[in-house]
Symmetry: C2
Subunit: 158 residues, 2 copies
Amino acid sequence: MRLIRPAPLTAASFASFGDVLDATGDFREINAGWCHRHHNRATLDFGPEGRAGLSIFKARPRALPYEFDLIERHPDGSQAFIPMSEQPFLVIVAENPAAKPVAFLTNGQQGINFHRWTWHGVLTPLAEPGLFAVVDRIGATPNLEEFRFTEPWTVIAP
Amino acid sequence: MRLIRPAPLTAASFASFGDVLDATGDFREINAGWCHRHHNRATLDFGPEGRAGLSIFKARPRALPYEFDLIERHPDGSQAFIPMSEQPFLVIVAENPAAKPVAFLTNGQQGINFHRWTWHGVLTPLAEPGLFAVVDRIGATPNLEEFRFTEPWTVIAP
């Protein structure tokens, strides 16, 4: 059995895969001080022929241990996942299909943005409601590559 | 005292102001049936010189009754608010500064997208964490008009 233990999601450990979207770091005070704006936190990239779209994903929760054999990437655009609940979710990424995948667990106050070309697992909430807003590419191309491992990986409890 | 009673947020009642972002209506099955994609739910419009940005807002919660005397609009772009919690929040809009503002209360599973030019109140969560992802315009212009009422409005409990 090929096991992966998830680590807490941090901006530093996730940097080569994408952006962590949270209320840490620099901000601007707006609305007479009632609100902090953490400005422009994601590297959005939808290619020369694409544009940004906002979709809602409703996914059925998974449980740990979680077995998977598929990763995918989007050659034409970045993809951001914003949880519409405070439930932590699982984030699976890989430097490339030959490398061991890496798993992260969010802290309930974090979204993520996969950079264009980043290999990643499918959306894996671990609890209801599994509701996410997704900012990704609207365009004419399929914008999807998939890779299936010959032997599955299993994400175990942290 | 000028009072406003909030109504439940629905796509029909909000249509002239913007889009309701939720997991209702048509969807595509993705991820081998584990996920429903409610595709491209927002009219994003960032003008000829603008592009999409993704920011994180952290706002201090308000309480009802809530008094306000300011509305604003963004002449150069739409603005989407995606709650990162299941806490309902207050949405204030106005057809124009001379009209009585309208208030809506979300159901905890809804984001919203203000269309370009829509007059609206500032972000008003009613409970912690007051954490939102915001998709709005990145560009060189100020992209802000404000209007201050001579007499304030008060949003009361629904």
